[in-house]
């Protein structure tokens, strides 16, 4: 081993190389960068080959249509990295949408106040998820399947099958406006703000290191003073609060407060997060991959829609992509195991050869 020779020379108080590989290998040869590369390829191919893809409207609608997925994917990534999952997000979106509609139109509250209360309702919904998972110790899959139905039931129950549609133009146009004269919709601003916040929380804070440690080994995290329960509790609250914000956005953008808004979106969010390289077993993943995952799904969708493909075909392509991307990790692991075994066999043979030669010398 090379390290053994290094130790022999190094005096007490040796120093260490910080990284075993040059920076470009560490950064580029990752799953996150594979997804980013794929995104760039698909975007370039669609720009060249799909009619009308190249127009400014594509980017505008890409932002507008995927905003809620992008928003919720950020905290969802953190939840999944701790090894948990939150399936109730889309129901919280619906609940928040209904709250905004009722509070604005029936109670006569202003949109910001109604929105604030809707976010608080989201916080309560997240606190219930978080309490049951982190402090009671129930599995998050079961808990959030339950609250998925519970929150959706509340949302539909509050408003029935009707919709609240009368919202002030000031707010509904804001939700669709461009930033200045650019091709980006206004919703990109809160997305960028939240992205900066979540990148800081996950990648540049002690809390974020704890998130990874919980996903890899929660017992060791507990032994080093990471408050495992509180971390999970906070993440479930954050996820539901961001989902509630996404609910306000959807309500204003569509001008439509309905109990069944965003039904099924929880799976789209999770699919994007997993496509972005976050491990469903926890402990692995990064937000630049998640952003690329959301955008990749969005770009494929809009390109195929422009090609007049049906939703079913689009779903088949995205589903296949997700399965392939999850498989790629296993296939890579299998290949490296195979090569390791080959190397191991070589070692064994060498050892046997050495053993037999030493035996002969003994004689």
């Amino acid at each position: 081993m090379t390290s053994a020779t290094a130790t022999a020379e190094a005096p007490v108080g040796r120093t260490y190389r910080p990284y075993s590989q040059p920076w470009w290998r560490r950064v580029l040869l990752t799953r996150e960068f594979a997804i980013i590369g794929l995104l760039v390829l698909v975007f370039a191919w669609a720009s060249a080959n799909v009619a009308n893809f190249n127009s400014p409207l594509t980017v505008y609608f890409l932002g507008l249509d995927n905003a809620e997925i992008m928003l919720i994917a950020l905290p969802m990534a953190l939840v999944i990295i701790t090894g948990e999952i939150d399936l109730s997000v889309a129901s919280v979106v619906g609940l928040s949408s209904v709250m905004v509609g009722l509070l604005h139109q029936d109670a006569g509250l202003s949109i910001p106040l109604a929105g604030l209360i809707a976010i608080l309702v989201g916080v309560v919904a997240g606190a219930l998820n978080g309490f049951l998972v982190a402090y009671v110790g129930l599995p998050s899959l079961a808990v959030t399947i339950g609250t998925l139905a519970l929150y959706r039931g509340l949302a539909v129950g509050l408003l029935g099958t009707t919709a609240k549609t009368d919202f002030p133009d000031k707010w509904t146009t804001l939700a669709q406006e461009h930033i200045g004269t650019s091709r980006y919709p206004v919703i990109v601003i809160p997305i960028l703000v939240l992205l900066v916040v979540f990148v800081w929380v996950l990648h540049f804070s002690s809390f974020g290191r704890g998130v990874y440690e919980i996903g890899l080994n929660d017992e060791a995290a507990h032994f080093s003073g990471v408050n495992v329960a509180r971390t999970k509790f906070v993440l479930f609250i954050l996820t539901a609060a961001v989902s509630a914000f996404a609910g306000i956005y959807i309500t204003l953008r569509t001008g439509n407060a309905r109990g069944d808004n965003a039904t099924g979106d929880e799976l789209k969010v999770i699919a994007a997060v997993l496509l972005g390289g976050v491990s469903i077993f926890g402990g692995r993943g990064a937000l630049h991959g998640v952003v690329a995952g959301v955008l990749l799904i969005g770009v494929i969708q809009s390109a195929m829609r422009l090609e007049n493909q049906t939703v079913n075909v689009i779903n088949i392509v995205i589903g296949a992509l997700l399965v392939l991307s999850v498989m790629s990790t296993s296939v890579l692991a299998w290949i490296s195991r195979l090569s390791a075994r080959r190397a191991g066999l070589g070692n064994l043979r060498r050892r046997q050869a050495v053993a037999s030669s030493s035996r002969t010398t003994e004689r």
Binding site: Y16, N217, E219
Partner: protein, 516 residues
């Protein structure tokens, strides 16, 4: 010992060796078990008994040595092969399928098949009843295994062994969790099996039981065979002396350190069913050894002090100030550090990098303007890795690939980086090579010299005796002895740890607390 005729020998191991990487678990293990004999195998924790048993059971394969079973050279690749040959091992905590019936457990994998390839339940129940009758126990063969006492579960394992017509039964500390009456019943069964001409190996730390039940005793130490004697020709003191007797001084470079004021004061610490009324004080510069058998409750006491687990009553004080219960961060702030028992599960996030692991406790103080970078973690962890001479190619290497000793250094570095006033260290040298062992011991001695209070849990007697200024012995959740370095002898510690004079019929107090 008279040389038995070959036909009477069930099991014969000669100079069997086994190592795991650089760690030698068994140097030269030897044991000869005759038909119709109950053979005691004794030794300290880590003497190699379990490894020896696992080789016989087919869990591990030996590296060298002879292994004869019923007069034939054998080499088991799997536990199934060993079972098929007629070897049964009964562990301290049997592993039954809780939802299956007692009978199904006995016949798992070899159910009698009747007409039409259907399982012949009637035959199964009849045979199970016959087995229990032969063993003289009353267990309903149709009841599920869930809810059976450990004693009954062991009986079922024994029934399974008999139904397989095993010629060798190995019992690894079967009485550790049994009450006096249950022990008597187990012994009665063991004697009847002996009278049927089977060979039995009985591993126990309780010498009163060894002397009551067995006819021959083999002592092991440090992976080596030491001696075999008929029970009638030996005494407890002789056996204990053989178990521990070894040069202690060189491995344990303990230098005397001035002992200062109390750092940790624990009073009346109790946790129902785990430990009770624990009082202990550790002073600055003092190494206090916490000795006792595995499962005596030492690690649990350490975890409660450090706030990993809660406790029911009592107080923990650091430097005179009370530390809140079940709060690891508060314990760390108060100046405590805990190097836990299981370094891969509790000490490290093995898939994380060396730097992240070392910086994992101090990282809160490393952020600048609220931003924590990998660079800051690397800069902070590098000197600590260097101080402990951690062997790694780079700081971003995951800890998974490292040897046990190196991993232990990373755990120690992580806690030294917090500059603790009290270091609790649980099994500091378990499973690490001799060279690193000595390094760890030197480090502990240096730390004590710098005024750090050290509470060291160890199952290795020589380590406790060689390093500790004071030895506290824990037995069944209670501190049963407080022995000064000058007076600490292996015999005293072993006696306190096993309560060798303890009558069997006294229930341990811990079980009474559960119902309270």
């Amino acid at each position: 010992m008279p040389e038995p005729a070959t036909a009477d020998v069930v099991l014969e191991l000669q100079d069997v060796a086994k190592s795991f990487g650089s760690v030698i678990a068994l140097r030269a293990g030897s044991i000869t078990v005759s038909r119709g004999s109950i053979h005691a195998l004794v030794g300290e924790n880590g003497a190699g008994k379990s490894t020896l048993v696992k080789i016989v059971a087919g869990v591990h394969r030996r590296d060298a040595g002879t292994f004869r079973f019923l007069g034939e050279d054998v080499d088991f690749h799997s536990t199934a092969a060993s079972k098929a040959a007629g070897i049964a091992v009964i562990y301290q905590e049997p592993t039954l399928f809780p939802d299956l019936s007692v009978t199904e457990n006995i016949f798992m994998g070899r159910q009698p098949v009747g007409r039409g390839h259907r399982i012949d339940r009637a035959a199964m129940y009849a045979e199970a009843s016959a087995l229990f009758e032969r063993l003289g126990v009353r267990i309903d063969p149709r009841r599920p295994a869930r809810g059976l006492s450990i004693a009954d579960q062991q009986i079922i394992e024994i029934a399974k062994a008999i139904s397989l017509d095993a010629s060798l039964l190995i019992m690894d500390e079967p009485t550790a969790a049994l009450s006096g009456l249950e022990v008597e019943r187990l012994f009665a069964v063991a004697r009847s099996l002996r009278d049927e001409g089977r060979g039995l190996v009985f591993i126990s730390h309780r010498f009163d039981e060894v002397f009551e039940l067995c006819d021959t005793v083999t002592v092991m130490r440090d992976g080596d065979y030491i001696s075999t004697d008929p029970i009638a020709d030996t005494t407890v003191d002789e056996i204990v002396a053989r178990m521990v007797g070894r040069e202690v001084a060189e491995l344990f470079p303990k230098s005397p350190a001035p002992i200062g004021d109390p750092v940790l004061e624990v009073t009346g610490l109790s946790s129902a069913g785990v430990f009770h009324d624990v009082d202990l004080t550790v002073r600055a510069g003092e190494i206090v050894g916490l000795a006792g058998l595995v499962g005596a409750g030492r690690s649990e006491i350490a975890r409660a002090i450090f706030g990993v687990d809660g406790y029911d009553s009592g107080t923990v004080r650091m430097l005179g100030r009370e530390v809140p219960r079940r709060n690891v961060r508060a314990a760390i702030r108060a100046g405590m550090a805990l190097v836990p028992e299981d370094r891969r599960k509790q000490g490290l996030v093995v898939e994380s990098s060396v730097a992240r692991n070392i910086a994992s406790v101090i990282r809160r103080g490393l952020s600048k303007a609220g931003v924590l970078t990998t660079g800051a973690e690397n800069r902070a962890s590098s000197p600590w890795a260097g101080r402990l001479e951690v062997k790694t190619a780079a700081l971003d290497m995951p800890a998974t690939t490292m040897s046990g000793g190196n991993q232990q250094k990373v755990v120690i570095a992580k806690w030294l980086a917090t500059q603790p006033r009290l270091l609790i260290i649980d099994e500091p040298t378990r499973g690490i090579d001799v060279g690193t062992k000595a390094e760890v011991h030197r480090l502990l001695s240096d730390l004590a010299g710098q005024g750090v209070a050290i509470l060291m849990i160890s199952s290795e007697l020589p380590e406790v005796l060689g390093m500790a200024d004071r030895v506290l012995v824990v037995c069944e959740g209670e501190i049963t002895a407080d022995i000064d370095r000058a007076e600490a002898t292996p015999e005293k510690v072993m006696h306190a740890a096993t309560r060798a004079a303890r009558p069997n019929d006294i229930e341990p107090t811990t079980t009474m607390e559960v119902s309270a």
